[in-house]
C-alpha cells in the first residue's frame, strides 16, 4: 500500500541525498557557497533556526522570492520548510516546484492536532522525529524521508544523538520480536502494523533516515552518521560560524569519511570557531523546538 509509484519517486530522491550534507541558506550568496562546497541540497529559509530562536515571534514559510531566487541560482535540489499542519503553505511550495518540503518544528506550528496529509502531494516531504513511533506515524502520513529533530539552532548535538540512538535502538528491538509481539508494539508505538513489520524485517526505516538539529562541526556530522544517520542537515552550524566556506567543505568531507579518523582530523583542522552553543538544560520547556509535533 505504501510503496506505490509516486511514493517510490519521492523516496528515490532521498536515496540520492544519502551520504550528503543538506545546508540551510537564507540567500543566493549562501546557496552558491553551499553548492560550491559540495552540499547535496540546500534548505531555503528566511532565518536560520538560531535567529528564529533569538528573535522569537511567529516563524512562517519563507518569502517566496527568496526561495525562487535560490532555485534559480543552484543546480542541486532546493528544499523549503512549511509549518506543521499548514497544508496550504505546502501547496504553495508545491506550485513553486521545490524539490522537498520539510514539515518542520523549527517553524511555529499551524495545527496542534494534525500534521499535513502528505500522501496527496506530488512533491516529497521530510519530517522530524525523536523516536520510532513518531517516525512511523510521519511515514504513514506520507513522509518519504525522516530526520532526527535534535534541538535546532542550539549548536548542541546532544538531542540529535538522543534521537538517533533512540530510533536505532527501537528498530533493533523490533527485529527479535515474534509477530504477536509486533502487534502489541504497533499499538505502543501508535504506528501502523504494516510499517512496524517492515522495520522488524530489515532493522531499518522503510525510508531514508537522516539527522538534523545541533550539528556544528565535522565531528558532529561524523558522530550521528556513525550512530546510523544516512545523511545530515546542517542548519545554523555553517552560516553562524566564523568560517562558512571552510566549514561547509569540512562537513561535506566528514559526511563521506565519517569512519576514517585521519580524514576527520584533516577536516577538523580546516575549520575555525564554531557557532556559539546552548546548554539544552538551561532552556525552558517552552523554548524547546523538538516538542512541537507529536
Amino acid at each position: 500500500m505504501y510503496f506505490d509509484e509516486p511514493f517510490r519517486l519521492k523516496v528515490g530522491l532521498a536515496e540520492m541525498l544519502k551520504g550528503g550534507v543538506i545546508m540551510d541558506v537564507t540567500n543566493v550568496e549562501q546557496a552558491v557557497i553551499a553548492e560550491n562546497a559540495g552540499a547535496c541540497a540546500v534548505m531555503a529559509l528566511e532565518r536560520v533556526p538560531a535567529d528564529i530562536r533569538k528573535e522569537g515571534g511567529v516563524a512562517r514559510m519563507a518569502n517566496i522570492r527568496i526561495i525562487r531566487d535560490i532555485m534559480g541560482a543552484v543546480s542541486i535540489p532546493v528544499m523549503a520548510k512549511a509549518r506543521i499542519g499548514h497544508f496550504t503553505e505546502a501547496r504553495v511550495l508545491e506550485a513553486l516546484g521545490v524539490d522537498y518540503v520539510d514539515e518542520s518544528e523549527v517553524l511555529t506550528p499551524a495545527d496542534e492536532e494534525h500534521h499535513i496529509d502528505k500522501r496527496g502531494f506530488k512533491i516529497p516531504f521530510v519530517c522530524g522525529a525523536r523516536n520510532l513511533g513518531e517516525a512511523l506515524r510521519r511515514i504513514a502520513e506520507g513522509a518519504a524521508m525522516i530526520r532526527t529533530k535534535g534541538e535546532a539552532g542550539s549548536g548542541n548535538i546532544v538531542e540529535a544523538v538522543r534521537h538517533i540512538r533512540t530510533i536505532v535502538k527501537e528498530m533493533r528491538q523490533l527485529t527479535v520480536l515474534g509477530h504477536e509481539e509486533l502487534v502489541a508494539e504497533s499499538k505502543k508505538l501508535q504506528a501502523p502494523l504494516e510499517l512496524v513489520e517492515m522495520v522488524a524485517k530489515t532493522g531499518k526505516l522503510p525510508v531514508p533516515n537522516f539527522s538534523a538539529g545541533g550539528i556544528a562541526t565535522p565531528a558532529d556530522a561524523a558522530l550521528v552518521m556513525q550512530l546510523g544517520a544516512e545523511a545530515v542537515f546542517v542548519g545554523s552550524g555553517i552560516f553562524k560560524s566564523s568560517d562558512p566556506e571552510a566549514r561547509a567543505k569540512a562537513i561535506v568531507k566528514a559526511a563521506t569519511y565519517y569512519q576514517d579518523p585521519v580524514k576527520l582530523l584533516e577536516a577538523s583542522e580546516e575549520v575555525g570557531k564554531a557557532m556559539d552553543g546552548l546548554d539544552i538544560r538551561q532552556l525552558g520547556e517552552n523554548e524547546l523546538l523538538q516538542t512541537r509535533g507529536w
Partner: protein, 188 residues
C-alpha cells in the same frame, strides 16, 4: 571478481545490494587504495556536483582515469554525468569515458521525476528517473541499449556503460547483470 561502488555520496548502498543479489562481490570505494583492489566500478546516483567536489578533495581524479583506461565503469544518473565527454546545464568537469553529451536536470525538478517502461530485447524494464539528465548526443562508437521517448537512456561504449535512470531502485537485475558480465569478460 570484485566490483567497487564509488561511495563518496549517493545511493551506493542500493548498488551494493543489487550486486550482491546477483552473486557478485561488492565493496565500497572511497580511496585510490580501495579502487586498486576492484575489477570494475559503479558510479552511483546522487548529486554529481557533490561527487565532483569530493573527487577533488580526495585527489581521486587521476586514479579514476587510470582505472577506467583498463577496467569497466558503469554510471547511473549522476554517474552517467561524470562519465560524459560533455556536460551542460550548467557545464562541469567530467571524466570523459563515454562519447556522449549530457544535459543535467533536463526533465526539470523533482516534480518532473517519473517512472517509464523501456523495451529491451528480452522484455520491458522499469526505469526510475529522478531529476535525471538527458543524453543529447551520442558519438559514432556509442551503442544505444535502450531509449525513452526517442532519447537514449542506456548506452555503452567498449567496456564502459551508463544509464540516466536508476536500475538499482527496481527489482529487475538485468542492467546490472549486463555490467557484471562485462567485468567478467575483461582479460585479467
Amino acid at each position: 571478481m570484485k566490483i567497487g561502488v564509488l561511495a563518496l555520496q549517493g545511493d551506493f548502498e542500493k548498488h551494493r545490494e543489487k550486486l550482491r543479489e546477483l552473486g557478485a562481490e561488492a565493496v565500497e570505494v572511497r580511496s585510490a587504495g580501495e579502487l586498486a583492489g576492484v575489477d570494475g566500478l559503479i558510479i552511483p546516483g546522487g548529486e554529481s556536483s557533490t561527487m565532483l567536489k569530493l573527487i577533488d578533495y580526495t585527489g581521486l581524479w587521476d586514479s579514476l582515469r587510470e582505472f577506467a583506461a583498463s577496467k569497466p565503469v558503469f554510471g547511473t544518473c549522476a554517474g552517467a554525468i561524470l562519465m560524459a565527454s560533455e556536460v551542460t546545464n550548467p557545464g562541469q568537469q567530467s571524466l570523459a569515458l563515454l562519447d556522449i553529451a549530457v544535459e543535467r536536470n533536463a526533465y526539470g525538478r523533482q516534480i518532473d521525476s517519473h517512472i517509464s517502461r523501456l523495451e529491451l530485447e528480452d522484455g520491458p524494464v522499469e526505469a526510475v528517473f529522478i531529476r535525471a539528465p538527458v543524453i543529447r548526443r551520442t558519438g559514432p562508437s556509442v551503442r544505444v541499449l535502450a531509449s525513452d521517448h526517442g532519447d537514449p537512456v542506456w548506452v555503452e561504449q567498449g567496456m564502459h556503460m551508463a544509464a540516466t535512470f536508476h536500475p538499482e531502485l527496481t527489482e529487475d537485475g538485468r542492467v546490472h547483470r549486463h555490467f557484471v558480465d562485462k567485468v567478467g569478460s575483461q582479460p585479467k
